[in-house]
Symmetry: C2
Subunit: 250 residues, 2 copies
């Protein structure tokens, strides 16, 4: 059974589960895969706040708790639809806690799955851009994974990251986490500028490396650059691990 750690953020959990259903071969309700979504946002502190030192508690504690409860409820493979939660200080502690508790749940790694997807599905690409939270940006999770697979990584400048990309997600007035239906035009404008910047710096593909970005931002048609959605990659990896014969061809 597929388990999803929800609440990071709540809509990202729904988005991952929808992408699991959308990528399942089925002809009616009963063919669909079994999946559990535990959305416990009140207990999981913000990931970037922790990585930046403004929050003491490591969100790994609460994420590990949710994973234990998913496992108790029958999940055998699980995913966390939050890129930032895969930064080493968080993800390694989650994995350690699972290991020391003797957990048998298989926790997929969204970032490694995404790099693996680029290698196998888009083998000609070499220059990859990244749009993400500042937590993901500074912890270098995508950079390190891509560079060790010999990709050239292209990022927004520090200034653009802090003044445009992170606020597009987190700003209390116009950020996607505060206002997502519809997304505020200011958030979209900042993401569009970031995307164009990466494109002009030579990116052949851009990883929409925050679940809020991949939900809110559509890569405009007719652009040469490919948008890569890690939530979609994770959804397909979850199906492949739990029900390999039910994975819909791309």
């Amino acid at each position: 059974m597929i388990g999803i750690v929800g609440g990071v953020g709540p809509y990202a959990g729904l988005d991952l589960m929808r992408k699991v259903f959308d990528n399942t071969l089925s002809e009616g309700d009963q063919d669909h895969v079994d999946a559990l979504l535990f959305s416990l946002p009140s207990r999981i502190v913000d990931r970037t706040e922790f990585l930046e030192g403004r929050e003491e508690q490591n969100p790994a504690e609460a994420i590990h708790e949710v994973l234990s409860r998913l496992e108790e409820a029958g999940a055998t493979v699980a995913g966390i639809p939050c890129n930032t939660a895969h930064a080493a200080p968080i993800f390694e502690l989650i994995q350690e806690k699972l290991d020391s508790a003797g957990s048998r749940i298989r926790l997929l790694h969204m970032i490694r799955e995404t790099v693996g997807f680029i290698q196998t599905a888009l083998p000609d690409l070499r220059r990859i851009g990244i749009l993400s939270t500042t937590g993901t940006y500074r912890s270098r999770i995508y950079q390190d994974a891509l560079e060790s697979a010999a990709y050239k990584v292209i990022l927004p400048s520090e200034e653009m990251q802090e003044q445009m990309i992170h606020p597009a997600i987190y700003d209390g007035d116009y950020g996607i986490k505060s206002q997502s239906n519809p997304v505020h035009p200011q958030a979209l404008a900042f993401l569009e500028t970031g995307f164009s910047y990466l494109e002009q710096m030579g990116a052949e593909a851009v990883i929409l490396g925050c679940t809020e970005i991949s939900m809110a931002f559509q890569v405009p048609a007719g652009r040469g650059v490919i948008g890569i959605d890690p939530t979609l990659v994770l959804a397909r990896a979850l199906i492949y691990n739990a029900f390999p014969d039910k994975l819909k061809p791309l």
Copy 2:
């Protein structure tokens, strides 16, 4: 904590959870309500097939199992996003099984909540139309609840129900359960005809009384008739029961 019985069908579970989040007062991830969605479609047989005598197993058994697991995982109030599952032969058995197991979970009744919503939020209405599966149609769940509240109920003819409304949901080629993204034009055309028929027969509001219908069919703007979405009513009732101070005003 809010529990959702998913898998009846899978997308209806997502739709209910999204409507819970959309109707929650929140300024960021951590303000959102805690909720669990167990989507176990493989074990829950079709509700109309059972009510029509073509399936022997009562889906109440599996739905009760899911509710027990939701309760074990911490849910205190729960909803089933499937109108047909509220037909007496199914719902009463679920409730009996919960009672005899000493369950303390509070299971809301989507149909009673919907009739209660019409009474309190739309007190001037008297003539209510219903679009639903044939299981819901024949088991008279909405008719009985509305008539005992002194409403005049308006339904599609038997022929229209069997040849247009039920197939719009279930047909293997064009039904919403087989093809929902996008919905097939044939399904939409049948639902539009059903809606117009109820309108012309004098309905002041139409209950979109199957989760597939309320997901796929938008009441066209500028129509005098009001579309009522029981999934939305259930979402708001779940929040009201679990976190009354977090319910967003309508």
